[in-house]
């Protein structure tokens, strides 16, 4: 029981890493980026190549996966995404879903369609028992690492000048820009960090979620659930939504295996009927 909770939290933490960038870019630029999962996949495959082929230590591969996805994200933002900022949501959906299919096919061509794993070092394998709870070493690492990053993100957003400029731009991009905030540059930086975090999530989550070329499609639903339920106005909303999603998905698959993924859809529908603005949306924003 507590072990399931523990695994669910680890799972939710990975989902948060994967989805938090999406919620910020959606909130900041009203940009629907369905290809967000492709940046996560890039980070995952980057870690696979670094660790399995080049023998880079696992813990060193994580920041490299972040960096790789952030750079790819930045390149795409500056060359492609900037042209769809002011387009309709339908255009954005069509454009980014196109990117997803291209990414799926490209990775399939280069790396093959079978599932890949990152070789974990010995010290991260296995479980130990603490107070009767089975604790996987790797999942513990995920929880600690993602927890630290989530706190750091929250501090940057709420305490730093960068964070206040970002929130100002989310509140009112036109006026923020008229008062000297370079909203385009801010967005590119945020997009890069969000893609980087997705890449980190892809690298960390390969073990738990499985990694193959269809990754961006398979987990698109999860990202969208996190964003709809958590809202786009804070870090805490998506964070709690990810935890709820992770725990209920793990518990659902354990206790009600026949229902499969329907557990999370049922919960999402219930939440959205109860709070159509999302669980943690600011009351009457705008």
């Amino acid at each position: 029981m507590l072990t399931i909770l523990f695994d669910g939290i680890a799972y939710g933490m990975v989902l948060f890493m994967l989805a938090c960038g999406l919620s910020v870019t959606l909130g900041l630029m009203n940009l629907v980026n369905l290809a967000h999962g492709a940046f996560a996949m890039a980070g995952g495959y980057c870690a696979v190549v670094l660790v399995n082929r080049l023998g880079v230590p696992f813990l060193a591969a994580l920041p490299l996966a972040f960096l790789a996805s952030a750079l790819i994200g930045l390149a795409f933002e500056r060359t492609l995404y900037r042209h769809v900022h002011r387009k309709s949501h339908l255009d954005q959906v069509l454009f980014t879903i196109g990117l997803v299919f291209m990414a799926v096919v490209a990775v399939d061509y280069v790396a093959g369609s079978s599932q890949v794993f990152v070789q974990l070092p010995d010290y991260l394998q296995g479980r130990f028992t603490l107070l009767g709870v089975g604790i996987g070493r790797y999942r513990l690492l995920i929880i600690v690492l993602c927890g630290v990053i989530a706190v750091a993100l929250q501090l940057v957003l709420m305490r730093s000048r960068f964070g206040s400029r970002l929130r100002a731009a989310v509140d009112d991009a036109r006026v923020a820009q008229g008062l000297g905030i370079n909203v385009g540059g801010l967005f590119a930086a945020t997009f890069a960090v969000g893609s980087g975090l997705a890449g980190l999530g892809g690298a960390l989550g390969a073990e738990i979620l499985g990694l193959d070329p269809s990754f961006p499609l398979k987990y698109m639903v999860y990202f969208l659930v996190v964003v709809t339920v958590g809202g786009t106005s804070s870090i805490t909303g998506p964070f709690l939504a990810s935890l709820i999603l992770g725990i209920s998905d793990v518990a659902g698959k354990y206790y009600l295996p026949d229902l499969g993924a329907f557990v999370i859809y049922t919960i999402m529908i219930a939440v959205l009927i109860w709070r159509p603005q999302g669980l943690f949306a600011r009351a009457a924003a705008r």
Binding site: D171, G180, I181
Partner: protein, 247 residues
């Protein structure tokens, strides 16, 4: 006198609609200009076109001799355009202090000086933008425009919809900024009586064109022109606007 801001035959509007059909004006350092005109005559469009957030169809804008026509709004702000938008547009998820520090730039207008100008803001520094009264929001909007440390401050109907006692308080602050500190400013108003005593020159807009330009003092005495183009009545209908206090 040297020119600080020069707007030359500016044509601007929204989408395909042209609202301003060739407006020119100039401002010297330390000078204040009133822009008057009734509802919907293009005052806000003029301000927003100088800020750079409308569609431009023609004309040029120079600041300190530098052509800023091609610059983005944020680059214009850094070049020295300060903006107090008509709807105030306080950042709601930022505190009062963050509203100021987020856009602050080095210069004489520091956080301490803004708080000295508006002591009410200092008391409310930890409150969020959405928790302020209308008057406090306006003070914050003015402070936020000042702390960018602009060469010229553009104020779009800063007295609109405020209680008389708050209007007096704001006018005192604006007089201090413009007259004592010598900040060059463009002050948009519908009600001429309120602002003509603070400004040096005045300009009247009608349907996107300048129909009168001249000395503030002379215009104040010229009932004929005022009655033809500007509302001089004390009371005017309150227009719908976003509620000052929410949540």
């Amino acid at each position: 006198m040297a020119e600080l801001l020069a707007v030359d035959e500016l044509r601007a509007g929204y989408g395909k609609a042209v609202v301003l059909s060739g407006v020119s004006l100039s401002l010297a350092p330390g000078e204040a200009l009133a822009v008057l005109g009734r509802n919907g005559m293009g005052k806000t469009t003029l301000i927003n076109a100088i800020v750079g957030v409308t569609q431009r169809f023609g004309g040029r804008i120079r600041l300190d001799g530098r052509d800023i026509t091609a610059l983005r709004p944020d680059q214009r702000a850094r070049a020295g355009i300060g903006w107090v938008p008509q709807e105030r547009n306080i950042f709601r998820s930022l505190t009062v202090e963050e509203n100021l520090t987020a856009v602050a730039r080095d210069g004489p207008w520091s956080l301490a000086k803004i708080y000295d100008l508006f002591p009410r803001l200092a008391e409310r520094r930890q409150n969020f933008g959405g928790q302020l009264s209308g008057g406090e929001q306006q003070m914050l909007a003015v402070g936020r425009g000042l702390i960018v440390n602009p060469r010229v401050l553009l104020l779009d109907e800063p007295l609109e919809g405020l209680a008389p006692i708050v209007v007096d308080e704001l006018m005192r602050a604006l007089r201090r900024v413009i007259r004592d500190e010598g900040m060059a400013a463009i002050l948009v108003e519908q009600n001429a009586r309120k602002v003509l005593s603070v400004t040096d020159r005045a300009l009247i807009l009608e349907r996107g064109s300048v129909v009168h330009a001249g000395d503030s003092a002379a215009l104040r005495a010229n009932r004929e022109v005022l009655e033809a183009h500007v509302s001089v009545a004390q009371a005017r209908p309150e227009r719908a606007r976003q509620p000052a206090v929410s949540n």
